[in-house]
């Protein structure tokens, strides 16, 4: 397998090419731009046989993908931050229409104030849109996840759009040596022939997205939920199949690092899992039996697997790159929610960190784990802002 050095964004573009996408509609936004530049180049050079629709907005990018997917194309778009929110109405439309679109979201903070740097509030704000949400840690995983995303989305038991999330700059612009699967491998894994039950057809005409009365609407939503439940199983199956073909497995919904005997778990999403793992190694040297639980998928939320991993732990620290003002953060509440129904559940402390690209180091993760263990003993605060300047008197 050829090994080349790629950035996260280049890996997305290579994934699009290997997946033989045939319609791309996109609008530029930092830090997503190098994805669409690379794809435009592939299309111009004839390396990717696709229609590239240079739309005038993200709203139109997703609308064009919806039209293309409904017409039977394998399609792709990418965005970030404000672009994703501007697209939001159509993101929900794609989810409700059950169209197997794949979108790369290069995670970036939301304005105001303007920030081009990473956090997860953009994608998490659309967690209820009926999209599968996957999160990559490394450039290699970005590339593999792109191909896997189409395989999951187009599975007839699923038929849902997939968001592939990669941290802005931290992953999108980071270069790593990557094993690029051959086209033959991807063709075997992801056949060009796709399920067609939903394609728009003049011979067998149907009207899509008409009005559903209160008599029928709920069943559409129930089926969406059932497809999400099914997606959890399909993601595990597809991960196993990819592993057989390439030797690379990521664990499906969760990646566990040194969790077998762990008393304390560190729950994270995205590229900083590498720093979290480093922190865990240092803690283990100090005699703290700690492990990392990396959520690779947040929709469908891996509630059962998370609860079963965490039940043998005394405490869990959730380091969250999002804020839900008044809650106070998205993943923290979702993790707590997942653990609540389990008979045996650990103490949970949440950390809000890295908003707007604020740097977080392995030392911060180490401190978060120690702070969680301490809070469990002395009943301290259950939520802490990591690295906040001036503490609570900041304003």
């Amino acid at each position: 397998m050829p090994r080349v050095v790629l950035s996260g964004n280049e890996a997305v573009a290579v994934g699009v090419k290997l997946s033989r996408v045939n319609v791309v509609a996109a609008y530029p936004i930092t830090p997503q731009t190098t994805i669409v530049e690379k794809i435009a180049d592939y299309v111009e050079q004839g390396e990717l046989k696709a229609r590239f629709i240079n739309v005038e907005s993200e709203h139109s990018a997703m609308a064009a993908c919806i039209g293309a997917a409904a017409g039977g194309a394998r399609c792709f778009t990418a965005t970030s931050s404000q672009g994703l929110l501007y697209m939001g109405e159509m993101v929900y439309w794609a989810g409700g229409a059950r169209l197997p679109i794949v979108m790369a979201v290069v995670n970036r903070a939301l304005a105001p104030p303007w920030s081009i740097w990473c956090d997860h509030n953009d994608a998490l704000s659309l967690r209820d849109a009926g999209w599968i949400q996957m999160w990559a840690e490394s450039v290699q995983e970005v590339l593999d996840m792109m191909v896997l995303a189409y395989k999951v989305a187009e599975n007839e038991r699923v038929l849902l759009p997939v968001m592939v999330n990669l941290d802005g700059f931290l992953l999108s612009h980071a270069y790593e040596p990557v094993e690029v699967p051959t086209q033959e491998t991807v063709d075997l894994f992801l056949p060009e022939k796709r399920p067609a039950p939903y394609w728009i057809d003049v011979v067998d005409p149907k009207s899509y997205g008409t009005i559903a009365s209160p008599d029928t609407y709920m069943e559409f939503r129930f089926k969406l939920q059932a497809a999400m439940d099914e997606a959890a199983r399909v993601i595990e199956e597809v991960d196993a199949e990819w592993s057989r073909m390439t030797g690379r497995s990521y664990g499906g919904l969760l990646e566990l690092y040194k969790c077998e005997d762990a008393e304390v778990g560190l729950v994270v999403v995205g590229s900083w899992a590498g720093d979290a793992k480093e922190a865990i190694d240092r803690l283990r040297e100090k005699g703290v039996r700690a492990g990392v639980i990396r959520l690779r998928v947040t929709r469908p939320f891996p509630s059962r697997s998370l609860a079963s991993v965490a039940e043998s732990m005394d405490a869990v620290a959730v380091v969250d790159r999002s804020l839900s003002p008044g809650l106070p953060s998205v993943l923290l509440s979702e993790v707590r929610n997942a653990l609540y129904d389990n008979g045996k559940k650990p103490y949970v402390k949440g950390f809000i960190a890295g908003l707007g690209g604020r740097d977080v180091t392995p030392l911060d993760f180490e401190a978060a784990v120690e702070s969680t263990l301490k809070a469990k003993e002395d009943g301290g605060s259950r939520v802490e802002w990591l690295g906040l300047k001036g503490g609570r008197d900041v304003c």
């Binding site: 319609v23 229609r51 919806i66 039209g67 997917a69 109405e89 005409p205 009207s207 009005i211």
Partner: protein, 304 residues
């Protein structure tokens, strides 16, 4: 050629949920006949969303992709791209109201026109947000009553066909449901061209304009005969009057504007003495419109 010579085959079936005398359902019938039923429709939010009735039934014999209000031109671009990559030669037609075209959908429309997408965009213009209960749109004419202009709209309407023509697309036309043959001819002509095509279809709405449902055609004809609505084509930047509007640049040949206005409740207040200025503004708007058309024709029809 008469209406009776149109194909008998129907693609928009009875039993749909339109109001009596609805111009949109008339237009959809004619559209189906013009294209022989082999095309796909993209429909944004609007009256036509409701006219289709509720799941799981549809009155349409052509496939319809319903889509969000602002999204039709972009969704149609994607659908056409999919047909192209599947090597299917199937026309994609947007069927959108004036709100979905000249207001909320204008950005996507402009984008698709600028990119030269190979689609036919038809705006059926009932001159307000009729589906949500008769609110003003950018296409509502000056003076018209709507529920959000209770004393009459004070601003002139947007000239959407000229906005689209300024994108230098191969074909732009206006039409009226009162002149079905003219409309059918224009649809056929548009469908024969590659690239972005736009038809702006005048659609007198009995519910919103306050006239009896039996008078849709009469009101539509009066709009053209008085010069309030103009039938024209812009092909490759050249403007040409068509059908009943031919020659109406001469004010002597146009019927008095009152013949059109008095048919409709939405203009009734214009005939009160205190609203005379609004009537004058409306007449001025119509006259200026014709002066511009006349000047354009005198220099050979070149718009751009």
């Amino acid at each position: 050629m008469s209406v009776k010579s149109l194909p008998k085959e129907e693609y928009w079936l009875p039993g749909h949920a339109a109001c009596s005398g609805c111009p949109a359902s008339l237009g959809l019938r004619m559209l189906g006949k013009a294209l022989g039923g082999r095309f796909a429709l993209v429909v944004p939010a609007g009256c036509t969303t409701v006219i289709q009735g509720t799941f799981p039934r549809t009155p349409s014999r052509v496939p319809i992709l319903n889509i969000a209000f602002a999204a039709s031109a972009a969704a149609a671009s994607g659908l056409k791209a999919a047909f192209e990559v599947r090597n299917l030669d199937v026309p994609v037609v947007v069927w959108a109201g004036d709100g979905g075209t000249v207001d909320i959908g204008l950005q996507a429309l402009s984008g698709a026109a600028e990119r030269g997408e190979d689609i036919l965009y038809i705006c059926y213009d009932n001159e307000a947000y009729q589906n949500t209960g008769i609110q003003r749109s950018g296409a509502t004419p000056i003076g018209a009553w709507t529920t959000t202009t209770p004393f009459g709209k004070r601003e002139r309407r947007k000239e959407a066909p000229l906005i689209v023509a300024a994108h230098r697309v191969p074909y732009v036309a206006t039409a009226s449901v009162a002149y079905p043959l003219d409309f059918v001819e224009k649809v056929k002509k548009a469908a024969s061209k590659r690239g972005f095509k736009y038809i702006h279809l005048h659609a007198p709405c009995p519910t919103g304009w306050r006239f009896p449902p039996s008078k849709t055609i009469e009101v539509g004809k009066a709009a053209v005969e008085t010069g309030m609505w103009v039938l024209y084509e812009v092909e490759n930047g050249l403007l040409k009057l068509t059908g009943r509007s031919t020659g109406l640049w001469d004010p002597a040949k146009r019927k008095p504007l009152e013949d059109y206005l008095k048919l409709q409740g939405r203009f009734a207040h214009l005939f009160k003495p205190e609203n005379r200025w609004m009537l004058e503004e409306l007449k001025k708007h119509v006259d200026e419109n014709w002066s511009r058309i006349r000047a354009t024709l005198e220099r050979g029809g070149r718009l751009f």
